[in-house]
Amino acid sequence: MALGHNDNARKLIPRWRSPASTVVLEMPTTPKGPLGPDAAASLAQKLEEWRAHPNPGTRGDLLSAAVVFGANDVVAEVRASDPPNSSTTEAIAQLLQIPDANDDAPIRRDERVLIRHARSHLALEPRDPLRWMELSRALTIVGSRHRASRAMRVALLQAPRCRIVLRSAARLAVHEGEPERARSILNNSGLLDRDPWLLATEISVTSLMEKTSTWMKRAQRLVESERFAPRDLSELAAALGTEERESGSTRNARKLFERALRDPTENVVAQAMWASRNGVNIAVPQETWAATRGRYEAESLSSYFGGDWRASLRATEQWFADEPFSRRPSIQASYVSAVALEEYAQSVEFARRGLIANPSDFTLRNNLAFALAHLGQLKEAEQHLLLASKVASSSLERVVVAATAGLLALRSGDIEGGSRAYEAAEAGAARDEFLTLSVRAFRALERLGVGQLVSTEELTGLLEALRKWRRPESRALYSRLARALRTWSLPFDDAM
């Protein structure tokens, strides 16, 4: 059986994007007002000089001022007047283009090119912490963990008090399964008492370690203080809200999430959506939702919870482009493709891409085996399942391995072996009602897939049971079983 990402324990771990995307998506900006009187006068004077004496000197002076003052109309006017054989090189003209601030769609870039680009820059100018950080991110995406850590260490040495570097370094440590190191990076910065963004990360990272941060009281005081803008406190309030929910205090959690949603980052919106599905009575206001840029995960979750698999997959693809090293979007995409949409080739593609940066991830390895089996590539599926079984550590993972082994056995014609594996999976899942139901549903689907008979009572029983669970996973399985019943022209209630 395939597995989605674990929805029970989302933590507010910072995103790790390019530095430019990070500041654009996380930092609040006030809309640009009109130019101040001095800037306007200076620009007007340069414009007058250029019009009176159009030469490269007055043109360059005006263009430089227009870029610095953000006078896009003047930049456009000067550029439009350029003769065809302008002495300004195209590269410089390109650099002086003012980008569209609203164009924030994530672009999937070739990491190999990014790595070459970063290295060539750093060879000439090594004093560039954000470029080291970008190199580290690109190396993480291609699965070169050791080098990625080394590059991040240089970034940290060069900018030990830079928030973006510190949060990215913490994110990398979490990605590498070392939250303890993430915590120590943050604590060693000496900035936790004054930077709510870093404090939010520390609290979430400590929570990942199943511990409580020693900074909780300080964090609460910061949230209650009026010292910071709502955007600056958004992640901290959401991190505290997540901790309150964990400790069972859903009322406090709701209040904190309400505070977090005053001016949230997309990560906070996704966290609030998750919290709303996990016991906290909170809703993301429509205007907040609409105003949140880069909300790919939130979109993905929203469509997933609503059963709109296509929309969910589209948003997940953007989420994956936004954070190509993260296991969660690739797990989600491989799961939705395989289980809800039965598009196994696509599922294989997502799982493979996710495995580049997460080669020892159990879920991705298992989902790859599951999708490959459906495509009839049984030998390769077996190899991946073997690798998955080697890294399976929890009882859930062992159940999943057994169920996928059952699928492989049935697909290879070993009916008896398949039944044995599914029975083992069911036995392993006995304490978890939904897991047991899922194993049974997957087994029934597989048996139908290989042409085995499944009684109408069993199918309708499964449908009844799945209907009780208001979970997206049960909805996906329900739809598939319902389709199977329809194929057999058996009567059933289509509505879940």
Partner: protein
């Protein structure tokens, strides 16, 4: 009109002379009976009539005038031959209006044109000319620094071309004097924002005069180099590479923005390199990397000597530009 210093006013220069000390000035062509030509900068007190609060305006105006007059006299006395000389100064009685009728002026030696305007001859203005001009500007800055003066507003329009003497630096209105006080000392940056060093735009003021002022001049020299080859200031190229929320108008602190400036700087230099002629590309790139490095505390250090700490000095840039200019001149002679 004849002036009491023996000069005759021939006519007004159409192009505005620019702001001085937050005040306004007009420019005129002047000549003397012996054939000497000059450029007169007249301070127009009558503009005070348009200012809502004229008292501080008068104060700033007169302080700026006196500062520039005295500093030019000091430069002249010390024979700083790469600074545009002031030939005379005084008052012109333009009418009988009390106070406003007496216009203070400074007469400078007259240049052919400024460096920026000369770039209209691009294609015929060769590499050797640009490098020699940069050598002259570096020399001017070195001369000023040796005398405890930092210019603070070096840009193409403040570098004037003389037929026989080559390039000289003009407009000391924004200058700062080591151990002294100058009208613009209280500002994070004194000159034109379009050419300002990044620390100035972010309001960072280093406690050390050398870092603060010589660092600013070094940046301007590097930015002038960039301008002469790309027709854009390094400040504009840096600015274009900084993500919008990290720009100074959003109240971001310099330390916070510095990592972004470092990345923008590395990209800007890589782009500017495309405009450098192949024969001097690596030399000019290295000079820009040293002079325009966004952190003033590390400005002037080379990639290979990151740990070297010593006062930033223009001397080595005088030598380097001279060497490059000689090489380019030799190439021109051979061609």
């Amino acid at each position: 009109m004849d002036l009491d210093t023996g000069w005759h006013v021939d006519g007004m220069v159409a192009r505005p002379a620019g702001a001085t000390g937050g005040c306004f000035s007009d420019a005129y062509r002047v000549s003397r009976a012996d054939g000497a030509q000059g450029f007169l900068k007249a301070l127009d007190f009558s503009r005070a009539l348009d200012v809502p609060d004229p008292v501080p305006w008068f104060q700033a105006f007169t302080t700026a005038y006196l500062f520039e007059r005295d500093i030019l006299a000091a430069c002249d006395a010390r024979r700083l031959d790469r600074i545009v000389r002031s030939i005379a100064h005084g008052y012109a009685d333009v009418d009988q209006t009390p106070l406003l009728g007496r216009v203070p002026y400074i007469i400078f030696e007259r240049a052919e044109q400024d460096v920026g305007s000369a770039l209209i001859l691009v294609g015929t203005v060769d590499l050797a000319w640009r490098l020699r001009s940069l050598h002259h500007v570096a020399t001017a800055l070195f001369q000023l620094h040796q005398n405890g003066i930092a210019h603070q507003d070096v840009k193409a329009s403040n570098v004037l071309l003389f037929k026989s003497a080559g390039s000289k630096v003009a407009d000391l209105g924004c200058a700062s004097v080591r151990g002294g006080s100058a009208p613009r000392d209280g500002l994070a940056f004194a000159g034109d924002p379009a050419h300002a060093a990044p620390e100035g735009l972010y309001g960072y003021v280093d406690p050390e005069w050398n870092v603060r002022r010589i660092g600013c001049d070094a940046y301007h020299l590097g930015s002038l180099l960039v301008f002469l080859f790309s027709q854009a200031s390094m400040t504009a190229l840096l600015y274009a590479g900084i993500p919008e929320p990290m720009r100074p108008e959003h109240g971001v602190k310099f330390e916070e923005a510095l990592p972004h400036l470092q990345t923008a700087f590395s990209s800007a230099v890589a782009t500017v390199e495309t405009a450098f002629p192949t024969e001097v590309k690596s030399d000019l790139s290295a000079i820009v990397r040293e002079l325009c490095y966004p952190d003033p505390r590390e400005r002037g250090r080379t990639r290979k000597h990151l740990e070297r700490i010593g006062p930033l000095t223009m001397q080595r840039y005088v030598t380097r530009f001279d060497f490059l200019a000689r090489r380019a001149e030799a190439l021109v002679r051979r061609a």
